[in-house]
Symmetry: C2
């Protein structure tokens, strides 16, 4: 934060600096924690047991078809983890045509596999690896899948990863995702990132295909981006914001 | 540890004290941990989802009868958590008489309810409350149930609680449990506790019904107790160990 920005902020008043802290309290669900030192008791193995169930396919009662690939699963587990799967399998159970098969459209098999892994184990599979070139892409797809199947925790995890991996190349895609899937924190992080770019970097962003797509599909997002970056980066990026203003004017015509 | 004991121990040699450390490494199963600050991501909710399944009874396909009380559950969950339940429900599935009912003998309904809660949530229910008079008794029963259904983690948790709640009144019951269910750490804790008692306290233990029962059923445990307390409490409790020696002689006759 620059000096001028700080001096102008409401946090500095009468020679006093106010620091705002947001405290998250994580409630521990284990009532025995007081009586048992953690080191003695092995960590919860319930997710490992579910993971074994997925791997071994034992008792599986539904096949999910994703672009020709078949995944065996348990209706009970799918339904308890995702209200969308619950509705789907209840529908299938009620309907006459319960063939024990569900076809999943608009999703890559690899993404569905990662989703299934998370459903059973509450963790991301090794496949979702920060070292991979397509790491961010997989996480983006998983984020979309999490939203589609109303899996809130997975959505938060993906959003958190995306927020920590914003690059000039993909910031517009992230911004579009944040808009489509109602994620304020990811949206804010993208705006903050754009506000921090210099002229050349910003030009690259504006020249990208993602920018063009966003302009075509969600001009309102760009208007909000303009309003917010204008506020956030007031002092240094007025020139580049100028080009965004032109863009938005162009969009409005 | 007393000075004499320390000086006699192999850990003190040539004016050097060797300290032995046992390090337990808890492997974290979440590969995303590096990329996501814990505070942002809500804790795992998989156990909560299973808990809801138990409460709501949705999709339940087996009834467990415990002394006339009926508990609804899911074969899939029971089988994935306990190899014993797995064998029982597989047997029931194969057999001609799959009525969807399993009768559980030799167990109180309250204990079975706590066991079921642990099966679904990996945590002890609020009922198992350190503030209750019968806390230790419930934990003892749960310990026995954990051993019976081969639920290792629950067994370790119960054992840990029992080790931290050894009293003169119940130490013999704990010792008997440790012996019957092959728990060395609980066994050691009991012996250490007995070695620390003074004459009057030890007399109380020896006069207890639990002691008489142990003497009748597992005299070998008392022999081992004698051998070990003799070593542990050498300097101060030779007199009271004397009375144990007599007891063991009596047993051996």
């Amino acid at each position: 934060m620059e000096r001028g920005e700080l001096e102008a902020s409401p946090y500095l008043r009468d020679d006093r600096l106010t620091i705002e802290c947001v405290i998250s309290i994580l409630k521990d669900a284990r009532p025995f924690v007081d009586d048992v030192a953690d080191a003695e008791v092995p960590p919860s193995d319930i997710a490992a047991h579910l993971g074994k169930l997925l791997q071994g396919k034992e008792g599986a009662d539904v096949v999910l078809e994703v672009q020709g690939e078949a995944f065996h699963a348990h209706k009970l587990v799918l339904a308890m983890r995702s209200p969308v799967f619950k509705a789907e399998s209840c529908g299938a159970m009620r309907g006459e045509k319960d063939t024990g098969r569900i076809t999943v459209i608009d999703m890559q098999p690899a993404v569905f596999e990662a989703l299934l892994h998370f459903i059973y184990t509450d963790s991301l599979p090794a496949m979702v690896d920060p070292g991979r070139d397509d790491y961010k892409e997989i996480v983006m797809h998983l984020f979309v899948a999490a939203d589609r199947y109303a899996m809130e925790r997975l959505k938060v995890i993906c959003e958190s990863i995306l927020r920590k991996n914003i690059h000039a190349k993909t910031v517009m895609t992230s911004l579009a995702l944040a808009d489509q899937h109602r994620c304020n924190r990811l949206n804010d992080a993208c705006i903050q990132f754009i506000a921090s770019l210099d002229a050349t970097e910003l030009d690259d962003v504006i020249a990208s295909q993602e920018y063009a797509e966003l302009k075509a599909t969600s001009p309102l997002v760009l208007v909000e981006l303009l309003e917010k970056t204008n506020r956030l980066g007031k002092s240094k990026s007025s020139v580049h914001i100028g080009s965004l203003v032109q863009t938005v004017r162009y969009i409005r015509m």
